[in-house]
């Protein structure tokens, strides 16, 4: 075995892709090592969907649609919004724990972007869990609200893209919050507030049900693009509105990536890792 020369290997896009895709593959394999772990989440999700389907059934019984949502649309809305709100909710804990425990110090001794690597590692298992939630949601939705309101491949693709962007945005926002652990010992309150905003602004009820002022304020933040966008794409499909919604999601994702990178580079300098 010969000693390698110093510095990084020459730039290769394929090698970079392989680096993060391998992390995603291992993250997924690690998740599959304990397949049963998803059972609790699946059960909770099904319970939420059941409860909300009963609520919307009662609300819309004998009543006209509200803001364009009838019973079926409202149920399908909740099913998709909850996949993002509940299925993509685990990033904060993982990254925050790495910072608080000092494990991040050891993860930094590798030639990769920490944020990118953590994302790759987390996205595999997250998408696996989300797929199972989606499957369960599809079955329950079909039972409580009739057939899945998919009108063609364009809508299906838009829904998939929107959910993927929502996952990325969730990861980046939660990671930026988790990285505040570089400054404050106990930062879980930030996440608690964030979660409540996500629930109120587009998860529990469609965003359109909120007063105009609240809607306008919500759209100044990235929160509606986490749950409202994918849920609306399935429940009230509009081929004209979808590209704009996806572009807005992408823009917020890029902005969140920049924020996350900034928080990480500022926080890294504050890292304390004493002892062996």
């Amino acid at each position: 075995m010969r000693a390698a020369t110093g510095g990084s290997p020459p730039f290769s896009l394929a090698a970079k892709v392989r680096k993060y895709s391998e992390a995603a593959r291992l993250g997924l394999r690690n998740r599959l090592a304990y397949k049963g772990n998803v059972a609790g989440r699946l059960l909770t999700y099904c319970l939420f969907v059941f409860v909300f389907s009963r609520i919307w059934t009662s609300v819309f019984e004998g009543r006209p649609p509200i803001e364009g949502y009838g019973k079926e649309a409202a149920i399908w809305y909740f099913i998709v919004a909850e996949i993002s709100a509940f299925g993509f909710a685990r990033f904060f804990g993982t990254v925050g724990e790495d910072v608080k425990s000092g494990q991040i110090a050891y993860l930094l001794a590798r030639p990769y972007s920490f944020v990118g690597y953590s994302f790759a590692q987390a996205i595999g298992p997250t998408l696996y869990d989300a797929s199972l939630l989606a499957l369960a949601g599809g079955i329950l939705g079909s039972l409580f609200a009739g057939p899945i309101p998919l009108q063609g491949p364009a809508q299906a693709l838009a829904l998939l893209a929107s959910l993927l962007l929502a996952a990325c945005l969730q990861y980046l926002l939660q990671t930026a919050l988790a990285l505040t652990a570089f400054w404050v010992e106990e930062n879980s309150a930030f996440y608690w507030i964030y979660q409540k905003f996500v629930l109120v602004c587009g998860t529990l009820i469609p965003l359109e049900f909120l007063p105009d002022v609240a809607q306008r304020v919500a759209f100044l933040t990235p929160i509606p693009w986490l749950t409202w966008a994918p849920a609306r794409i399935l429940s009230r499909w509009s081929p004209e509105a979808a590209p704009g919604m996806l572009l807005a999601q992408l823009a917020w994702t890029l902005a969140a990536a920049a924020l996350c990178g900034l928080v990480f580079s500022l926080g890294r300098r504050r890292l304390v890792a004493q002892g062996g």
């Binding site: 910072v99 050891y106 570089f182 304390v272």
Partner: protein, 356 residues
């Protein structure tokens, strides 16, 4: 050109302190108490390519903090470090591609997956082309004899098996420089010996520079050619193992056993310490600069019928402990006792985290 060049390297941490009692807790909400801890204070040394250096010191001496600065994990508060011609804190990612690091108390292998998966991931992380990765992997598997464990989840491996896999994994990208922080911690004697042999072979065959911290004197004696001793964040000894051992030779341990009772008390003199004694046996420590060994042995033989007598060098471990104690005593004499360092190396991750 040195592989590692360190000049006046410093690291100061600001830590929040929490005094006892509810009143103090309430006060700290308004005005939190902080104190500065100078973990590393102006360290200087160089390491040449192919050297195997032991970086020693008691708990809290600043060893791990120094290593973390050399790996680019921590930013120095002062001074500078150059590793393989790169600035670790500014060129962390580039440097990471050329160094290997094993932190004995932290695993780089995925706990629930077999080592083969972690090897694939590390190959991808270090951007090793697949055919080369397969070749290196096969070579390391053979050299470290880890073939039987490659497909067993890491959680089911013994500590010795896991450490072998850890060290092999850290060599996958053929690093020029290997940082080993307590690599044999918790291993049994057989596993320790195996790891030491592998490291020795690595040095001889591949010329890899090894920078090792360990509390295990066996690691140091068997593997290292040079020792840097750090205490209270400062380098107090930087010399070859030969020189260090030569210091140890200044003191000898004698054990003597007689056929009957003998008076040992009258033997005690400056430079001659009775470590322990019974009626017919004693263990002595002799400073050979003050006492000639043949004369002492003659004096012992004259005292009675000797059944057995052995002469040994002072253990290196004791010598290093004396260096630490000497430094503490000197600091106390100078009236400048170093501030207590809060971090105990053995606490590891408990002391790690973000600065509040």
């Amino acid at each position: 050109m040195p592989v590692i060049e360190v000049r006046g390297l410093e690291k100061t941490f600001t830590l929040k302190t929490k005094p006892e009692g509810l009143a103090a807790s309430l006060r700290s909400l308004v005005r939190p108490l902080r104190r500065e801890v100078r973990a590393v204070r102006g360290v200087d040394f160089e390491v040449e390519e192919g050297e195997v250096v032991a970086f020693l010191g008691p708990n809290g001496a600043g060893k791990s903090t120094t290593i973390k600065m050399l790996c680019g994990i921590l930013e120095p508060s002062g001074g500078r470090a150059t590793v393989l011609g790169l600035d670790p804190s500014r060129q962390r990612t580039r440097l990471a591609a050329s160094i290997g690091a094993v932190f004995g108390q932290k695993s780089q292998l995925w706990f629930h997956l077999p080592p083969s998966d972690s090897f694939s991931l590390l190959g991808a992380i270090y951007e090793i082309p697949r055919p080369e990765l397969a070749r290196r992997r096969a070579e390391l598997v053979e050299r470290f004899s880890i073939g039987p464990y490659m497909d067993t989840p890491v959680r089911k491996l013994s500590l010795g098996e896991r450490v072998r896999c850890e060290v092999a994994a850290s060599l996958l990208h053929a690093p020029r420089l290997l940082f080993l922080d307590e690599p044999t911690i918790g291993l049994d004697v057989v596993a320790k010996r195996e790891i030491r042999l592998l490291l020795e072979e690595l040095r001889k065959r591949d010329g890899v520079t090894i920078f090792l911290t360990s509390h295990d004197i066996g690691d140091i004696e068997k593997i290292c050619k040079r020792a840097i001793i750090i205490h209270h964040g400062q380098v107090v000894v930087d010399e070859s193992m030969k020189e260090l051992k030569h210091r140890a030779l200044a003191k000898k341990r004698l054990a003597v056993k007689y056929a009957g009772p003998v008076d040992f008390a009258s033997l005690a003199a400056p430079g001659l310490t009775i470590l322990k004694s019974t009626a017919d046996a004693a263990s002595l420590e002799v400073d050979t600069r003050l006492h000639r060994l043949p004369e002492l042995i003659r004096a012992l033989v004259d005292r009675g019928e000797v059944l057995d007598i052995t002469v040994e060098d002072e253990p290196l471990e004791d010598l290093i402990a004396e260096v630490f104690e000497g430094e503490d005593a000197e600091a106390a004499r100078a009236g400048a006792a170093p501030e207590a360092l809060p971090a105990d190396d053995s606490r590891g991750e408990a002391a790690a985290g973000a600065r509040p």
